[in-house]
């Protein structure tokens, strides 16, 4: 053998290759040769309401734009997520637009690099390493979108404080300790508390984003603080709804207001009945569709990413607040009907460049 090096394949690349191969085989053959780019959505799972709505938004945009659309699901497995994307790049010959919510922060780099190499256009959301920037991968890495967790946490806290009359005790339910979103949303809460000295944080507990854990936790908090609890701040709606059911079991639903983040349907319903004071959403429908729209417009030359200002390359999107004031309106346009979004308004929800 002249060059044995070519034959040494380590286990990891072998497995990646195998996974990629399988993924490639599973894809529809219509994708093989076509002129129009394929739209690709890469998300973590379909078993949570958030990403399910994301996918609906992506499909709505694809239908509007008349393009093929494929959803890749990583099932929380970074290697699978990356391997599937690579398989897709190979299948389309790079003629694709990717809107990705990377499974984990470090995943963003290999995804962006693979896309840039293949000539595909990519938009990432939520997760990327701080030293990875769209401007370093011109023109393929079009944009990165996040939502300001500090601002969300603070907004809902302020509404909660107002609802309970500006004074009294509250309890807070945090997300999985190590996640950025959990940390930022808590920072927002802390900021709001600092500005409202009459509000007392009785306890901050962690329910790991889960309604089931929040349900048990809330019962225990009621024992400890009883009627001192005037309001509940939850870092997401799922935990908020778990807390709500715990209140309901004690006949307290609607008497102690809850606030949360995400805008899931249960929470929106609860805002309507007054059991939730508000929820705030990044609007996954918009995220799913607009991520693709930004990438596609760059791809077909509607705008030149290299000429866009920094706040169009790495920006915070505008979160939508759903409170008593606008919930009926929101329900009509977003729950009863598919939301109407102007897919040409690429930058309408930019609130500013991401803090560094």
């Amino acid at each position: 053998m002249k060059d044995t090096k070519n034959f040494t394949v380590n286990r990891r690349t072998l497995m990646l290759g195998a996974t990629a191969g399988v993924a490639a085989l599973a894809m529809p053959s219509v994708l093989r040769a076509q002129d129009k780019p394929t739209l690709v959505t890469s998300i973590r799972s379909l078993s949570n309401p958030y990403h399910a709505v994301w996918k609906t938004g992506a499909e709505a945009y694809a239908k509007w734009a008349g393009l093929e659309h494929v959803t890749l699901v990583s099932e929380g497995n970074s290697e699978k997520g990356i391997a599937d994307i690579k398989a897709m790049l190979a299948k389309t010959g790079g003629n694709m637009v990717l809107n990705s919510d990377p499974n984990d922060t470090p995943d963003a780099r290999p995804i962006v690099e693979a896309c840039a190499k293949a000539g595909a256009y990519v938009v990432t959301q939520w997760n990327k390493p701080p030293d990875l920037h769209p401007k370093d991968f011109n023109p393929n890495y079009v944009s990165h979108i996040e939502f300001d967790g500090i601002s969300s946490g603070k907004t809902i806290a302020e509404i909660l404080f107002k609802t309970i009359g500006g004074k009294g005790g509250i309890v807070a339910l945090g997300g999985l300790i190590s996640t950025t979103a959990a940390i930022e949303r808590k920072k927002g809460l802390d900021a709001a508390l600092a500005a409202n000295p009459d509000i007392k944080l009785l306890d901050f507990q962690v329910a790991n984003w889960k309604s089931t854990e929040a349900f048990d936790l809330m019962g225990n908090l009621l024992t400890r603080f009883g009627d001192d609890i005037k309001g509940i701040w939850a870092a997401n709606d799922d935990m908020g709804s778990g807390a709500l059911e715990a209140l309901r079991a004690e006949n307290l639903a609607g008497k102690v207001p809850i606030v949360g983040v995400d805008g899931i349907k249960t929470a929106v319903d609860a805002v309507r009945t007054g059991e939730f004071a508000c929820t705030v959403t990044s609007d996954p429908f918009w995220q799913g569709g607009m991520g693709l729209a930004i990438g596609y417009n760059a791809k077909i030359g509607k705008f030149d990413p290299t000429k866009e200002p920094p706040e169009h390359r790495e920006f915070y999107g505008k979160a939508v607040l759903i409170s008593h004031d606008n919930v009926e309106e929101y329900y009509k346009t977003n729950v009863d009907a598919k939301p109407e979004i102007d897919w040409n308004d690429l930058w309408g929800r930019v609130t500013g460049a991401i803090r560094t």
């Binding site: 300790i177 019962g219 225990n220 024992t223 400890r224 249960t266």
Partner: protein, 327 residues
């Protein structure tokens, strides 16, 4: 006929003092927490404790039989989520127009039992170790729920089913009575039926049980179906408590159930322990979670405390001197 209380007395009768360890741990925990925060022994809190224990207790009843047999059932979360999914989709909900009322509850329990039955078939007929077989069933169940629920949370709007969690009988939510009924049923099965004894025998020495004429295949399949039955009930209770079902409604339940079973003193190797132990184990876990909140222990170290408790409980209840090899 020796009745259950007699049997319990025999179990804690001091013949083997180590079987008393979990009960002692529970009592010490309760006393310490009550001293630190008298709210603990308020009736309202005891009711809450019972309420939080309802779902884990029902789950752990099923799991106890499997672990007694020396097997493991990892499909807890998948089966629970299928049962909750079936319940919510067949009862009044905000996703479709069904309204089958209590037939939905029956269907949910049947679905759970069927999942367990299949786990049993996979283990005995395909001869796949329960660890792998039920791991597969876990994901099959999860996938089924994701598919049927379309990834979103569907609300349970049937008031009579929600009353399982919201209506109280003699001061306790109905769900607690259901869980207690599940415990009694499990205790009768374990201590007073052939099935319970054969499960224990298989856990002790499967070859000998077979030579003694025990139909091991049938016992195994029945045990898995029985476990699925309890998981199904737990699924109904969980959906009723949370007022909704989503695919991940079971998240974290497997770990909690295994912890409760092991902390109660049932050996993972099979043949030792039982549903009474598991009742104590569930109470320990529930009381500890409640107590840590009451004592204001930082959420950042609560998990560490739980881990320590598992090791401590196993160390106390296991006669490690008799273990030849630790693995």
């Amino acid at each position: 006929m020796s009745l259950i209380p007699g049997r319990i007395a025999a179990l804690f009768g001091g013949r083997r003092w180590r079987s008393l360890a979990p009960l002692a741990v529970l009592i010490v925990l309760c006393v310490l927490i009550a001293i630190a925060n008298p709210n603990f022994i308020e009736v309202r809190n005891l009711v809450r404790l019972a309420n939080s224990a309802a779902v884990p207790l029902t789950l752990a009843m099923g799991l106890t039989f499997i672990i007694l047999m020396g097997s493991i059932d990892l499909s807890v979360e998948g089966t629970l989520s299928v049962s909750a999914m079936v319940l919510v989709l067949l009862a009044v909900n905000d996703g479709n127009g069904n309204d089958y009322g209590w037939w939905a509850v029956l269907a949910a329990i049947v679905a759970g039992t069927a999942m367990g039955f299949v786990s049993g078939l996979v283990q005995t007929m395909l001869r796949i170790p329960s660890f792998m077989g039920t791991l597969g069933m876990w994901f099959i169940g999860l996938g089924l729920s994701v598919y049927m629920l379309g990834g979103s949370a569907i609300k349970l709007n049937d008031a009579s089913i929600r009353d399982l969690a919201l209506h109280r009988f003699l001061g306790l939510p109905v769900a607690v009575w259901v869980a207690f009924g599940a415990f009694l049923l499990a205790a009768i099965i374990q201590y007073h039926t052939k099935l319970g004894r054969h499960i224990l025998a298989i856990g002790g020495d499967e070859d000998v049980a077979k030579l003694s004429g025990v139909n091991v295949v049938r016992v195994r399949i029945t045990a898995f179906a029985l476990a699925g039955f309890f998981f199904g009930i737990a699924g109904v209770l969980a959906a009723a408590q949370l007022g909704q079902s989503h695919a991940v409604i079971g998240d974290g339940r497997l770990f909690a159930a295994v912890t409760a079973v092991v902390v109660g003193g049932t050996a993972l190797t099979g043949g030792e322990g039982g549903v009474v132990n598991t009742l104590i184990g569930v109470l320990i876990v529930t009381v500890l979670a409640n107590g840590m909140i009451l004592l204001g222990i930082s959420p950042y170290i609560q998990q560490t405390v739980q881990g320590l408790m598992i090791i401590a409980a196993v160390a106390l209840s296991l006669d490690r001197v008799r273990l030849r090899i630790v693995k």
